[in-house]
Symmetry: D2
Subunit: 336 residues, 4 copies
């Protein structure tokens, strides 16, 4: 941590600050320049609150020089994390496609879609049972029943299932789910993250709509620090001023996250753009940029979907996309 000292600081104030630094178990290192004094704080500053330091009377500004995430940091854990689920693996060297409808609607629908995406080569089935909806008047998902239907689809196809959790109290319902998804709106639901850190089950953590990549890693840190190393990061579009697409897919997130962290990174082009015809182009780009996997929405009758039909591919469109992804995965050195 580097502290920039105000020009107006007196010698006495400076000494008192240095004393405080020593008390925190850190070693201050002064650089006095023309008009600017900076102090490097040497030692483990990960538990030092940047804002606390900034509020001190003689401090003009504070800059961190080391990342605040530790267990998710590649510098400290260079080897790639591979998350194994059923027969499937998510992580470096693999391209894992997770497909399925936005919402689970009925047994027929979820089983039919599951069979279709499996036939096309998907490795896992996704489907929403608990649905975060902006409007209280919109379909809120089949909830517990939806999870039961997902299990039936798993039975019918062998595909591991991924579904979203919205609340700590529901954790028992997810006992038999293969991967628990934390949605964008809950990325900073820290109480939930802490609980998920105590489970022995992979967590797919989506980036919040206005969250930085560092904040995403800090949320993953909550889970890993709790004892659960099986976290999968997911880029799903951020909120910007542009209205042509629902969100703006930030594909630079993939190389950035993979360079800073050892965790796998997947991309959800369906939620990012919100437009079915654009999904294949973005899915291909995600593979080319280095993603370890994709979340793709597929629905057998998008125009009758109870949520987000606008962004769902039909099974035949999904199968065609999978064929286009194969050579790209191969070029990227990934098994599909």
């Amino acid at each position: 941590m580097v502290v920039i000292v105000k020009q107006t600081a007196t010698k006495a104030q400076l000494d008192s600050f240095l004393q405080w630094v020593y008390e925190k178990g850190l070693k201050p290192h002064l650089s006095e320049g023309a008009g600017t004094t900076i102090i490097g704080l040497i030692g483990d500053t990960s538990k030092l609150d940047e804002n606390l330091v900034r509020s001190m009377p003689i401090v003009e500004d504070v800059k961190r020089v080391s990342e605040p995430y530790k267990r998710t940091n590649r510098k400290l854990h260079p080897d790639d994390t591979l998350v194994s689920v059923g027969g499937a693996v998510i992580g470096e060297g693999h391209l894992t496609v997770i497909a399925g409808p936005c919402s689970v609607e009925c047994e027929e629908q979820i089983v039919e879609v599951a069979k279709a995406v499996k036939a096309a080569g998907a490795a896992m089935l996704r489907g929403g049972a608990f649905k975060p909806r902006t409007s209280p008047y919109a379909f809120q998902g089949l909830r517990a029943e939806g999870i039961e239907l997902l299990k039936k689809a798993r039975e019918a196809t062998g595909l591991p299932i991924v579904t979203e959790i919205m609340n700590i109290e529901h954790i028992p319902l997810f006992e038999d789910v293969d991967i628990i998804q934390v949605g964008a709106r809950n990325m900073q639901n820290f109480e939930l993250l802490k609980e998920l850190g105590h489970l022995n089950k992979p967590v797919l953590l989506k980036r919040g709509l206005a969250n930085t990549l560092e904040e995403l890693l800090m949320s993953a840190e909550y889970i890993v620090a709790g004892g659960n190393p099986n976290v999968i990061l997911c880029e799903r579009g951020i909120r910007t001023y542009e209205t042509a697409t629902r969100n703006t897919l930030d594909l630079s997130a993939v190389p950035f996250l993979k360079s800073r962290s050892h965790l796998p990174v997947v991309v959800d082009p369906s939620h990012a753009c919100g437009i079915a015809w654009m999904v294949p182009a973005l899915a291909k780009a995600a593979v080319a940029v280095g993603a370890d996997g994709l979340l793709i929405e597929v629905h057998n009758q998008p125009e009758k979907a109870l949520s987000d039909g606008a962004q769902s591919l039909r099974p035949d469109e999904f199968a065609r996309l999978m064929e286009q992804l194969r050579p790209l995965a191969e070029l990227a050195g990934k098994k599909m």
Copy 2:
């Protein structure tokens, strides 16, 4: 709702779509122009999913013409909502200042600050017991104990208390709290909102960092639709590209929300800018723009605060600010 039809739509497709509209209990109204056909859907479209319509094969675009929020909508409920808490009132005609530290740290601190803000004219005491922190290694609040200390401060001063909830499971702990705050990160924690809708206790709902004002009203709608009409909206800064302040305070939110909704609107300048010396200027602007109240962070020793000392005023600075606010409140026709 207005539907813009694709140029390529056939007569048969159009008929089938009109049939679907009738089945939904709506009346379609066609306008055929040079190159563009638009269809107005007449009737109650509040439960019709815009995205579902957009996914239909012949639909090019869909535009809502009426607001999706009903119970929070001023058009349907023209009279201002006034929220009464203890002796204090929040709503049109009043300027209610809620002040206190970011976090409750110990009995001495919270009681001392409570006395100071009361002496300066604050109407309520705020203080965080459960703290949402980006880092798992940062101080997480005193939690249940913090709420007990807030009650002691209330006993000592008579000030009603406002504190943040982060999780449904903690609701019983908030039974004796006067106003439950929902923080920016939980604005779309819909499960929590639903539960708060069943309580008989005011809720202070903060705008999310990347949420539109319409989404804020939809989240309030969750609470009001559940049966709890006592919602206070709070603007606290949004995330933009600008880094000079922590967030960008959007004061146009105040006149916008007050024109569209009957709910009271308060402003939190402390969290918005994150810089103590800037708080008074923004607080004055918030009163001038028409806010019904303010949330101001005050700490007796900001440089020793366990969280966000950087944005806290000292008691004497707060007292001076209150003196400056009085004539502004008077000009705005508000009791303080």
Copy 3:
């Protein structure tokens, strides 16, 4: 254009508005619903000012249903525009790589880089002569001399040259340049765009840092409407709250622009991320998403570059990238 009428509008006001619509040569089409009246304006509304209509006393809101761009609109001009420059072609079916240093610095540098990028397969040479710099104290480019040096590099290699214009007065200096680039900061320099519309020379138009894709098409419309059809659109990252990369590359811009317009679309990953090691991943993604070309910064000694060395590839890194792009271009059905 669809006009939503205020609930409070009187019959007399409505009649007077309808009269005004007729006077504008348009036909109004009323749909009266429960609580909402909407009016479709039928006819050519491209010259009608949306804000003017919105300011009328009885108007609650206005929604456009047809795009305001005409000459750049694929609906009206379905065939892809191909821009030919020297032997090179930019447009559907081709992957055109434009490479070179951020700034032209001296003859040796630009000729050496030009030879290197040609050897690696680049189709054109880029290099800045006039440099828009945030600071007046930063290197501002070699200006006219820089253009002369680019010509020497063209002579030495045969590569057509692309360089940025910052001011109308400089147009004569660009007479012998192959493609004139309009930078992000000048995307809405409308006086410049008008002048470029009178030239018979291709223009590479970069998206502004905070401009929507519709605004980009409107700026292109200025040039095409002036009589110059040879416009190449360029996505180069937009400004968002994320600070991990300099800007956020918006690759969904590519399929969106190519669906709405017939103009070619290229991508500049170097300026978007500002980090050399991330450029190859983003370049590959841009090809996979369907871009017609790339702008890549290459410098023989990035650490000595007078501008933006941080994002420049070395010639050997560029050559390696070109090898990786070839199979991707082939998969996308593009000649390189």
Copy 4:
């Protein structure tokens, strides 16, 4: 400037970097910590390119500790700049209201509006002659003729005139204008800024839609460094994801700019929100937050305006606003 060194840097690389620092006339100051080495560069780093340093092989990151703006920096020039125009003054201690229509449309209109705003207490007249319009098909302003009409309005009222320049070539037309306005879209038109730096005439510089406050000060630095100290900064809303208002007015810009710079700061609420009824609330907030002046759009017949009627006040609404601003100006200690 503080340089954070990569963990992988060798002793030889470090020595070579230190050598390079000395050659630049700077003194390096090393702080070696556990796992992190940081180097403070002592001396005048204002001409050192941050990105150049960042691109060096051993550099992990670079952080500036002093502001890159010098002549506009309050630290170096503590006294407030006061800009005098005709009888009017803009700067600390004054509240200067500049009012008038978005566009000059005809002599009758501009003279009528000028008389009305003068009667209500405006100190200057604004009106667009050259209009930057997103669409080439929209009204582009009366251009040179518009400036002549503004002069007639000045003759009739004595009000100094403010109007926007879009292009260097037009500078001669502005010889008799009192304040030259640089619009948001030209804030980084550096060639134009350089030319304006050579004039002896006040410049009102509007913040760009996606520009940081530091960038605004750097653009002002271009003008002041050229020899023209009379720059007025203007906050006019930034582009965010929120669509309820046209732009998001960032009032924290006012205290921030006034603390960092000695230049006067004015606010344009009309362009920021784009909604006439919201302008008074935001204007009052701007005065309360400490603005030195306001730009307010006023039109005698907003519904017939050729541009931006939606955000214009009628003369009577403007007069009422002026009455409301007077006591606020007084509270802020400003003459109006």
